[in-house]
């Protein structure tokens, strides 16, 4: 069985994240990058399936050279190999272009039984790429999965909603995006860190995937960011000193803000 976990290298969400001054794309140079935490759940899910049987786990990413770190982290956690799509022409690609490129890479990897993704990236946060991928590859997609099992060519999923949980089954191959409730991602072991050095990572360009560079990247994006305005600094809150009427004044404040 071959499982591909999609991983993304994103700016550290705990740092001051910004946009590039010139083209308003995400600034990936001024901030430390890391493997999107939500993707760790996808890797853990893949490794859990692999732990229970004979499965190969491939980590796939698209991104500039720094994205190799996301692959490395997946390999350190236990993935068997990595595929890194890197091409300057991809800079500024939107979600549809990303999905098209990833679909081409999945076709090239070949014989993929299960594609696992996180529920969103922690930078873009659109959650649309898995469904778009499924359209390109004509596969079933089950999103926001809180638990799943693979058995006899079928993936059986539990999708948790606000008011109910649904049981959804899909024939393999399929694309499953998992939530941050599905597991507790493992830490890499030191042996994993050492072993990752020797695991194969294939780097692919757009030419390798037969994709015309003019169909991806910022110029081909279907949405354009015209302007970026920095969120105003947080102002100091209003301090209510309790002089016997603290409760009333708090409620008045909350009512004025339409919270109650």
């Amino acid at each position: 069985m071959k499982i591909v976990a999609l991983v993304k290298h994103v700016p550290d969400a705990t740092a001051e994240r910004t946009f590039d001054d010139a083209d308003h794309t995400t600034d990936r140079t001024g901030v430390d990058g890391l493997l999107s935490e939500l993707d760790e759940y996808a890797i853990e899910s893949a490794l859990t399936v692999a732990d229970g049987g004979d499965a190969e786990v491939v980590a796939l990413t698209m991104g500039p050279s720094g994205a190799a770190d996301a692959i490395k982290k997946a390999l350190q956690m236990g993935a068997d190999s990595g595929v890194h799509i890197s091409d300057d022409a991809l800079h500024g690609s939107d979600a549809p272009a990303t999905a098209r490129v990833l679909a081409a890479a999945l076709r090239r990897i070949g014989d993929v039984d299960l594609v696992l993704t996180g529920m969103a990236s922690t930078d873009g946060g659109m959650s649309v790429v898995p469904a778009m991928l499924a359209e390109h590859l004509d596969l079933a997609h089950v999103g926001f999965v809180g638990e799943f099992s693979v058995d006899d060519g079928t993936v059986r999923c539990r999708r948790d909603g606000d008011t109910a949980s649904e049981s959804v089954e899909a024939a393999l191959p399929a694309i499953v995006s998992v939530t941050d409730q599905i597991n507790e991602p493992r830490y890499p072991s030191f042996k994993g860190i050492m072993a990752a050095k020797k695991k194969p990572v294939e780097t692919l360009s757009l030419a390798d995937l037969d994709i015309d560079p003019s169909t991806v990247g910022l110029a081909a994006a279907t949405s354009v960011v015209d302007e970026v305005t920095k969120r105003p600094e947080r102002t100091q809150g209003e301090i209510v000193t309790d002089e016997g009427d603290g409760g009333t004044r708090l409620v008045e404040y909350l009512a004025a803000q339409k919270f109650v």
Binding site: K72, Y187, P188, S189, F190, K191, I193, M194, K197
Partner: protein, 383 residues
């Protein structure tokens, strides 16, 4: 302020980053409550073991990480900066494996070392006795040969991991020939006649159990003797060289934590209209604390680098242990002072750091013994 570390390889960098992440996520939030309740975090240490941290300096052939001491010790420092008990635990475990790893026969190492450093087991190091602390060679615990085994009788004192360890590296007297009459034994925790006192009520490191270990007719197979009969004291002293740089690294981490806490507080606490760090009395105190921490780190790394190059490092280990632990005592004391009244309460961690620092001047050889080691080296130089 994050510590800017110099490490030899990208893998060592990844290891240090991983340890920092685990320490921040899993150790730091649990430390205060477990210390208050005197509860040893066995599961967390097991998790560190599965990560490979309990065998870092040992050979890959036996499942170790084959990391140089300058990396291993920085891992200890990172752990200590979040929870000294856990860092000490890793250090003492490493010390307990040291006799077998360095003096065991090929057969002994093959048989026992992989499990000992594999992450699931925990070791204890039994040298001190109630009446033989600094003068360890005055020990009275006996090991009497009886056929294919030795029978051990006596009492060991101040044993970290007493009662929870899976194996005990025990030093016992096989003859009355002073320091030359001591041998080393690897005693499994389930040996008949091995019992433990109640955990000592200590001033700090309360989550780390320290007990008396009683050996009452404990029969140990002769094949569990590590090194030659009579070679034990030399093994113990060599092991302590390694243990002392470990303690120096732990003390440095503790001091770093105290400095970070004090500096953060001094940046936000305002008196006389500005943050107290801007008042020279406080700012200079913090500067001296930073200098003390960095000096300690430089010393243990200097000792580690000698060791990694196969050079003698006994004096350097003693200097590192002496300075790092004295500095940790001073830095943690000053941290309480910088925080003032709140520093004296248990709502802030610095009073705990202060209590934890004290014992580091005492264990793994008191700082008076470190001075003795250094002075003897200086004396010999004149001969």
């Amino acid at each position: 302020m994050p510590v800017e570390r110099v490490v030899p390889t990208p893998e060592a960098r990844d290891l240090i980053d991983l340890v920092g992440k685990i320490a921040d996520r899993d150790l730091a939030p649990a430390a205060a409550a477990a210390e208050e309740a005197a509860r040893y975090p066995r599961e967390l240490v097991r998790m560190l073991g599965r990560t490979g941290l309990l065998g870092l300096p040992y050979d890959e052939e036996f499942g170790g990480g084959a990391q140089p001491y300058d990396v291993y010790l920085q891992v200890l420092e990172e752990l200590a900066a979040r929870w000294a008990t856990v860092a000490l635990s890793v250090s003492v475990h490493g010390l307990s494996c040291w006799p077998l790893a360095n003096y065991g026969s090929a057969e002994q190492r093959k048989r026992w070392l992989p499990d000992m450093i594999g992450g699931e087991q925990l070791g204890a190091y039994c040298l001190s006795e109630p009446h033989a602390g600094s003068d360890a060679a005055a020990m009275s615990t006996r090991a009497v040969r009886d056929g294919d085994s030795y029978v051990l009788d006596g009492t060991k004192a101040w044993i970290t991991h007493g009662g929870i360890a899976d194996f005990y590296s025990v030093f016992a007297r096989t003859s009355d020939d002073g320091a030359r009459g001591i041998s080393c034994f690897l005693v499994p925790a389930d040996a008949d006649g091995l019992t433990f006192g109640a955990a000592e009520h200590k001033m700090g490191l309360t989550a780390s159990p320290t007990t008396i270990v009683n050996l009452d007719g404990v029969r140990v197979a002769a094949e569990r003797r590590i090194g030659d009969e009579g070679a034990g004291f030399g093994i113990a002293l060599h092991a302590l060289d390694a243990g002392r740089v470990g303690v120096a690294a732990v003390a440095t981490g503790l001091a770093q934590a105290a400095l970070d806490e004090a500096a953060a507080y001094a940046r936000q606490r305002e008196q006389f209209g500005r943050p107290v760090i801007g008042h020279q009395g406080v700012g200079f105190t913090l500067a001296d604390m930073a200098a003390s921490v960095q000096a300690a780190r430089a010393l243990y790394l200097a000792a580690a680098q000698r060791r990694d190059r196969g050079l003698g490092y006994r004096q350097q280990a003693a200097v590192a242990k002496l300075v790092a632990t004295d500095n940790a005592m001073k830095v943690t004391t000053d941290a309480v002072q910088v925080l003032g009244g709140v520093g004296y309460t248990r709502d802030f961690p610095v009073e705990r750091y202060f209590r934890e620092a004290k014992v580091m001047q005492i264990f793994e050889g008191t700082n008076q013994i470190q001075r003795l080691v250094i002075a003897r080296d200086l004396e010999r130089f004149g001969e």
